[in-house]
Amino acid sequence: MSTEIKIRENTEKRSYIVPTIDIFENENEFKLFADMPGVTKEGVDIVIANEELEIKGKIAETEEASNNFLVREFRMYDYYRKFTVGNNIDSNAVTAKIENGVLELTLPKREELKPRKIEISAE
């Protein structure tokens, strides 16, 4: 399962979960799937800036610390993950959807990077 990280935000240190991710590539786009159980559409925050892709997921309901846990195998923290994507993504055409706790991101490549077939003109 996902690992946890601690990030310092302003003055307080917060714990985040690093979601597990699959990335697929074809000639036109990248497709990214991230497992983020407990995150709704409103909680997702995706930023592409400075050649970096930042994924944040805010969990809809947090667990009370006062809960009397009998078994505790996972924690309900917010999600955070960052990738370096370079400048080969068309950031205006990025689409995202979240369903059953899985975020699906479609990141189209920039037009000039797509493979192009060069026609040989007959003389």
């Binding site: 159980p37 667990e63 195998e73 706790g101």
Partner: protein
Amino acid sequence: MFYTYDVLDDVLKMSDAFEKFFGDANVRRHYPYINMYEKDDKVIVKSAMPGMTVEDVSIELVNSSLIIKGDRKQIDVKNNAIRSERNFGCFNKSVRLPYDVDRNNVKAVLKEGILTIELVKSEAARPKKIEIK
């Protein structure tokens, strides 16, 4: 009394010490991970199972165990994977309940990849105050 020394005894002892030291980070756990806690007369079991729909999961109550079964299917993506960290396939997990529960009063909801099962303690498992005369 005989005592046969086995080098593995020490290894096991050491791994127990490690587990104790690192707390829940090293606990042997099986997918899907669950949290279980009490709330008044209820026992609540939460399980994180991203990508699962209601049709993919089944829950059974057998004796005093809750059995969670499911199959996570991989969507057919015909592109080349450049990173794959997620796991797919069948799972089967049995969770032992600490109390007797009311079998006819179980609620289960699957929302945003989190399964929440609400069980009510049976009459016999609830604390009963005894009057002193």
